[in-house]
């Protein structure tokens, strides 16, 4: 016997949620699936598979006002952004939950990013297990799996006419109070097979390959379009700029910016510590596979496969991991 909810009851539950909270779920815009606040439950794409843009968008949007400043009677008045309503982030898969858990590491560490922290506290994560694995995803490489509930408040596993319900946190349990969950004799489906990529020893190998010509060769075809970082649920580098709008209202805005951008490390006066394409491309992989494990204790990749799908020149992270593994200590210049 497992906890179960009929599909119609699930939709009714989501409708109820929408009355008091912001419901953020996968929608389709011009054929692209991404997470947006929804007005109607009918807009939700229930079988989105791996969305094109990841669920990180809700906690770490492409652009976000951190605070505004205006002058009132010669005094500077600073108004921070706050989150008015509670929210439910629905329909994310385990890889995206892993991504959010990874982003928590830098953002919640002292001094805590209070804007991000508020969103995390006020948002309940209701995830969907993957009944099918994408050919390019490899979440099992990092200890996750298609039915992994880690990082979620509620996990729904589709089976028959509804979903098996697993609530893993008090927050999730509380949200389910308003849902029509029953006990049912429903079979737990088999999780789909995932093409894992072995990652053992990557942290040890990486320093030896730092100066290898491999990175410059790979960067030959990189156009530094930043898309890998944009769709990645675990990429969190950002830029902060001021913007003065009408009436002198100043907005301090945070936006996505990746280490691939040519001006990422350029300092005033023009000196750029990381000037070459190869160095920039290498930084992305080293940040994920060496620096984050050493700094924060976890590899910065969830194996969601989005970067593989989206790269216009097929820089395939799985191929890079495998090449690094195979090389041991030396990669020949003959590989791409």
């Amino acid at each position: 016997m497992v906890k179960f909810i009929q599909k119609t009851d699930l939709l009714a539950w989501l409708e109820g949620i929408m009355r008091e909270r912001t419901l953020v779920a996968p929608v389709k815009e011009e054929g692209v699936t991404r997470f947006r606040p929804v007005e109607k439950v009918a807009d939700i794409v229930m079988d989105s598979g791996s969305t094109d843009l990841s669920a990180k968008d809700w906690f770490f949007p492409p652009s976000e006002v951190l605070f505004t400043m205006s002058k009132v009677d010669g005094q500077a008045v600073i108004t921070p952004t706050t989150m008015a309503k509670e929210a439910v982030l629905f329909g994310l898969h385990p890889c995206d939950a892993q991504g959010i858990a990874l982003m928590d590491l830098p953002f919640l560490a002292e001094p805590t990013d209070t804007i991000y922290a508020e969103k995390r506290e006020k948002t309940t994560l209701v995830g969907l297990a993957c009944r099918q694995a994408c050919p390019e995803c490899f979440c099992t490489s990092f200890g996750s799996s298609p039915f992994d509930s880690a990082g979620l408040d509620v996990l729904l596993i589709e089976s028959g006419e509804g979903y098996i319900v697993q609530s893993t946190t008090p927050k999730g349990q509380k949200l389910l109070d308003s849902a029509k969950v029953t006990e049912a004799n429903v079979e737990m489906p088999q999780p789909p097979a995932v093409n894992s990529v072995p990652i053992e020893g990557l942290v040890e190998i990486a320093p030896k390959l730092f100066n290898d010509a491999f990175w410059n060769r790979l960067a030959d075809r990189c156009i530094h379009c930043n898309m890998c970082a944009d769709v990645c649920p675990a990429c969190y580098c950002f830029d902060i700029r001021d913007y003065t709008g009408k009436g002198g209202l100043v907005e301090r805005v945070r936006t996505w910016e990746s280490c691939q951008a040519s001006g990422f490390t350029r300092i005033a006066g023009g000196y750029t510590p990381r000037p070459t394409k190869g160095a920039r491309l290498r930084q992305r992989f080293y940040h994920k596979f060496l620096y984050m494990p050493k700094q924060l204790g976890k590899i910065g990749c969830t194996g969601c496969g989005r970067c593989v799908r989206v790269c216009p020149v097929n820089i395939d992270i799985r191929e890079i991991i495998t090449t690094m593994q195979k090389s041991g200590a030396k990669i020949g210049a003959g590989s791409s």
Partner: protein, 285 residues
């Protein structure tokens, strides 16, 4: 005709004779279906080259990273037009490039793990033959009438009233995540500091607001007016499927109509926005 074999043989010969330091072409991607750029430096590496309708990338932009080296490049007619544009704008030198021009009957719509039907832009393309080349792959064909080359979707959109067009573009640009992949992929976008990154003055706001997204996309299109060679890379790489080619094709049509100019057909004709004639009719008043 086995394009792949012809290209492999030529590339091998060029590298073995040290006529060039690198050959830019294509190899199979990791999905086993689509293609990705390959930069071959040795005759042995040319074994990996392929050529078919999955070779959709415009490699011309990579020439900007290789200004001081002699490079061979496998280029479709639209890519060759980009090369001409870059030579004309003095960004690359003709003598540094060996163009392996390929006669083209259209490329497939490719995305990860998927090879689709012929691309829409190819069905109305006026240029099957590479305008210039050092080595030709394929046989020259008779070209379509220029009139047949206008993107019909542009005409459809222009037929709509302005309010409807504005609503359409507001909706499309609201999806923009300002990733600048379009700029990165475009051979015509090579400014060392793009206007959108400038702080002083801040031409475009950093926030992804409707006004700012609109400003980014339309100003980029205007900067390309009379220069865009319609390779379609911007639209191909856009992660949120904005139909960017509609804007670029429309401006290309305007420039074509008013100035009888097609960008990239040769490397010497000055583009309209780089010339001034006293008796030019501007269509105003």
């Amino acid at each position: 005709m086995d394009s792949t074999k012809i290209i492999k043989d030529k590339a091998r010969e060029l590298l073995a004779s040290k006529k060039v330091e690198c050959v830019m072409g294509f190899e199979r991607a990791t999905d086993g279906k689509t293609a990705r750029p390959l930069f071959a430096y040795t005759p042995e590496e040319t074994e990996r080259f392929i050529y078919d309708q999955t070779c959709v990338h415009n490699l011309a932009k990579f020439l900007l990273n290789w200004k001081d080296k002699t490079t061979a490049i496998i280029a479709k007619p639209c890519d060759v037009r980009s090369i001409n544009m870059l030579i004309q704008e003095q960004q690359i030198k003709r003598e540094k490039i060996y163009i392996i021009g390929v006669v083209c009957s259209g490329m497939a719509e490719c995305s990860w793990n998927r090879v689709g039907p012929t691309q829409e832009r190819c069905t109305t393309c006026p240029q099957h033959n590479p305008p210039i080349y050092d080595f030709l792959v394929g046989e020259l064909v008779a070209e379509k009438e220029p009139a047949a080359s206008i993107n019909p979707k542009v005409a459809d959109l222009l037929a709509k009233p302005p309010a409807e067009r504005r609503a359409f573009w507001n909706e499309q640009f609201s999806h923009c995540i300002r990733c600048y992949a379009c700029r990165q992929a475009c051979p015509g976008c090579y400014c060392t500091e793009c206007f959108v990154d400038q702080l002083d003055p801040q031409w475009v706001g950093i926030r992804h607001s409707p006004a700012d997204n609109h400003m980014w996309n339309t100003v980029r299109a205007f900067h390309l007016a009379g220069r865009c060679t319609q390779c379609g890379e911007c639209q191909r790489v856009c992660p949120v499927n904005i139909p960017l080619m509609l804007v670029n094709d429309e401006l290309t049509k305007e420039v074509g109509d008013k100035f009888a100019f097609q960008p990239g057909m040769d490397a010497s004709t000055l583009p309209p926005f780089a010339t001034f004639k006293k008796d030019e009719h501007l269509g105003i008043g």
